[in-house]
Symmetry: D2
């Protein structure tokens, strides 16, 4: 192979060595490179914005993948932390899959370390309503929460300092017509055995739960509860995302996530919408969307602006005249606008309660 | 909700009933619909062209998914038949995953029936070279091929009428420098214990094996050998496909597939290339690509044609003047051409041997 | 370059000759191949289903592209016929762009012939309301319709046998609050000077116009009215399509399209919805969607079916129990169903009037 | 419409007001939002990295779009500056398109201001070889370069302070077999009438020109020379990009771009490759790609790193052992590596000459 050809080769294909025999030719371009797609989200109020999913299953309960797959998915989808929460009581594959309640964590932790994903040891207490399903997060040992009475499971978790999360309270299989806060939930809440609730689970939103969380000072949570391969269930290649909890933590560590959750520093993110405390919503919006005058005006002497959104969330913005603009995620658009009309904004896809959306004043 | 609004609703969103309370709002649009993407491939020579993958793993050996996932993937990717071929001898998850060698088939067969995927009961004899790895396909019971000596495993398979497939003969872990047909392979071949060979495995091509198959009248096979989720390993959403064996069968049944394979009625399809017997390659090309005169001519009085390719394979066509055109998959292009230059064609991405590509005469 | 390397080259890259000097290296892979994406739509009731767009602009009025671009777009987007309808009265580029009213047709006809696109000679009479904007289609000469009075323009068109189309009757610039059939429209209608109306234009739907067309026996039309590059305005790469009129014609010719339009054999297709006569909607649905039993049943003994939709339109199907299923375009899904629930269907995205949707009885 | 429904509406669709009549229903989701996709590229050596295309056509010569389209495309594709360079001598549409040589600039400048795109007034001197085609950039008036003799055109441009660019010197229509620096080019060069050369044009690379530029201290340029709609010619929706010149300028202004070009502070970017001066290539690479230890090790005690590439260019990196890794654009990958093997890197897709690629030492 003469120099010219070799060079042309390099120029065209970026390949120097080339299979020169007929025994084995590699087609590396057939293999998809595993890449992490960062979720661009601004840090706010002095905290780091971490992207977390606290609810998912593997073949160690009724999921269809080996625990390492959950780590790989989380890494590719830009998450910082996950909890694998296999059911304690529901293990349909028991005939073939053995191991105690720590097995899924143990199978995944090395991969999590390799990929720099924070892995939370956890389990899902799976009972009929009430109390329904609850995740015990940040455990040292999952086995003690396998008890006869549900309350004993939660007490055993509490003893380990667990954050306890009530899952999908409005799930129709357990609350077909309503989404009720039952006496048993009041009891658990008073004993500190409910610390957060899913306002969003898989593809369901429980608007009333958003009010519960804000009133009772519980963390607002959004989780995938994924059993399938995530990209089989959610349409990730077309820009959709799994439900995610944004946690505002002092740093990127399990300890800081746990602390932030106990202090309700979270937002629920699902289907390009955000729900939670006004203060966090406003901070995220203002840190994401900015307007820069181009110094140019249109024919009617109105100023032209470049509106930039650095976050992964498109914002649907309504001005004081009721005009609505979507500022797409990670993009810039140009708009001709009169600043007077944009001093108060309504952000249509940010929910501050079951019946209210975010209003912000702009400087 | 008055009629006008309901109607506008229907018009805009195609939804009649709508969640009218705050307990549970469904976001069904977040869930990806599972659809089958048919692999468009013409039937030829009186046979049905079936798309098959005879080599894949689950958590019952060293794969990462539950057996039903293999069926779901096959259905979505347009396959007709698959064999789950968990290793007999290599089961790294044994500590947690139990069950005999039929377990993966048994876990998947109901889903296969639901999805109308033909599921072949099979196992992979996994030995050091020689003989290397061999799949026993079309078994009634996988357990008898778990023997001490590899030849006994193959004899046990043969007793059940199995088709035996030599996997990845040029795999560098077993044949680092070459791809040799060893004396033991000659012995197995003479005893009827090798009936086909992978010329393509995962992302590797063994050109020399194409010659072996054609000379020794063995079936040419292309398999994924997938351990991961297929869409995590292959870039399916961007138009890539897993390696597939095209089987030319009398009908869509396990029996006819088995018969076709013993009669070498197969082609290997990988990375938008085809390899195998000239007669099948030519038939596929001619049934796929047609030229239709538009009745119009260009400025130089040359006829304008619409060239249509109905198959999922783009064909790279060289004419008698050395001009090369790619006719994209499932598309039509227009070309100004002189039929005299297109009486003999060379099809660049159809291999008839390790050192030869397809030439066809056009009528 | 020795044989082995050449071969490996062919194998890997499908390239035989290779740039061997440093003067000029081609990167043909950078260029997008222009391919036609056929719109798969069944033929019905003995007619061919042709896909047409009767309203679009070029730089010869207020569009931004040269006329040949309209042909290229039409070919790539799978259309059979188009009309370039530059404004007679609105020519903002007149300072720089000259030529008479036939210029855009004349600039495009050679390309249309090359690409096998049927090109309709046409112009848009562009007046204030009433009568608003009307396209004169199937002209021999566009110049005579440049008259002082609008009615004279339409009479001049009629003299040439033109099909006259009322464009965007509910366009807010001309009918800000309502969409009225005015006395002048009644007059034109009675004189045979309105033969069809746009129920859909660009991104606007006029439901009331659907009733007008059905009651007055006028052709139901859906057009793009595109001024921009189509793929800049419509999100074609993500599966959206421009508004299209389906014409049910005896063959693929201008004459048969014209005849079909005068006989109201059309449907409006926009945003994955269809609107028009029940008989055509029902025929399209039934020719598109079929159910095939797999011969398998689920755990509850209900039959499993493969539901196939061969058309480019997803259908949103509601059964007698109110259960809704979307059958995606050009796909197959599997469903467990009880035929008794599917004897009468409501097709949510097929509109038979401003206030009614398609109901079909299944055999 | 009661409150609950309104709210559910807002929750689901982010829409408050809703078309309540049948006259006109808007389908705004059918329209593609025009968004700018920023080209992420680090600033280096104290300069701003501006993305520029200095060669393109409109209907005012032989292009197919109105000048404003060039601005819209540039904005969407993330460019900072463009020159519209309609041919002075080649105007096939002259019959219909009139106007002097400034017309395309004048038609585009308002849109450029609105979109914050820097628009360079320019024209293409279009002669047979020698001297071939040359762009005169940064003119005040294009008309004076319409002269009989090519040299007079260039002198007239020079008088206005123009930067003169030799286009596609290896274009086969003008230099079918070679790419020669002819005596006339030497003459022009000595008179200061060649200030830069295209090493890349449309889909052609002239490796030898890279040496000319580096030896003669001329700016290395990469341009699209687009005549068609850019997204029709280049496969932009699938991640390809038009050829672009990176200019390292003191600020984002026409003046600083002109200054930078006269000082040869440019790189050519095409097909995910970079060509030009080693110092700029090295700076771009080092500012783009960083490795961060995860603090974890693999089974063999080798450190695991996160490798992040913030730029829009994937880099193909070869280490001292000849191992090749592609670090994808705007992504993070994890790698187990031994720093000792990565002290000297070869960057396969960065060309420092017709026969050499970039080598960098890592700290």
């Amino acid at each position: 192979m003469n120099t010219k050809i070799t060079l042309a080769f390099i120029l065209l294909f970026g390949l120097k060595s080339f299979a020169q025999d007929l025994n084995n030719v590699q087609f590396p371009h057939m293999q998809k490179t595993s890449v992490r797609k960062e979720i661009r989200m601004p840090n706010i109020l002095g905290y780091q914005t971490l992207k977390c999913d606290f609810h998912m299953h593997t073949i160690f309960s009724d999921g269809v993948v080996w625990p390492t797959v959950r780590v790989d998915e989380a890494w590719e989808e830009g998450l910082d932390a996950i909890a694998i929460t296999d059911h304690i009581e529901n293990q349909p594959s028991k005939k073939y899959v053995t191991g105690d309640h720590n097995a899924s964590y143990e199978m995944a932790i090395d991969r999590a370390n390799e990929k720099n994903i924070l892995l939370i040891r956890a389990g899902e207490v799976t009972r009929k309503m009430p109390p329904g399903h609850l995740n015990a997060l940040f455990l040292d040992d999952v086995n003690p929460i396998d008890t006869k009475e549900p309350i004993d499971a939660l007490l055993a978790a509490k003893k380990q300092g667990a954050f306890i999360l009530w899952n999908h309270p409005g799930w129709k299989a357990q609350q077909p017509d309503t989404c009720l806060w039952m006496p048993m939930h009041q009891e658990l809440f008073e004993k500190g055995l409910i610390n957060g609730i899913e306002v969003f689970n898989e593809q369901e939103f429980y608007p009333i739960v958003l009010d519960w969380c804000l009133n009772k000072k519980l963390a607002v949570i959004s989780n995938s509860d994924i059993h399938d391969v995530t990209s089989h269930f959610f349409d990730i290649e077309n820009g959709h995302h799994r439900p995610v909890t944004l946690v505002f933590a002092k740093d990127r560590s399990l300890k800081s996530i746990q602390e932030a959750m106990f202090e309700n520093r979270t937002l629920a993110w699902f289907d390009n919408k955000l729900a939670g405390k006004k203060e966090f919503l406003e901070a995220i919006f203002k840190a994401s969307v900015t307007a820069k005058p181009t110094g140019k005006t249109d024919g009617k002497n109105r100023e032209i602006y470049e509106i930039t959104n650095i976050s992964a969330i498109p914002f649907i913005v309504e001005n004081m005249k009721g005009q609505v603009t979507t500022v797409p995620a990670e993009s810039t658009i140009t708009m001709t606008l009169d600043l007077m009309d944009y001093q108060e904004l309504t952000i249509r896809n940010c929910y501050t309660g079951s019946n209210s959306i975010l209003h912000v004043n702009m400087p």
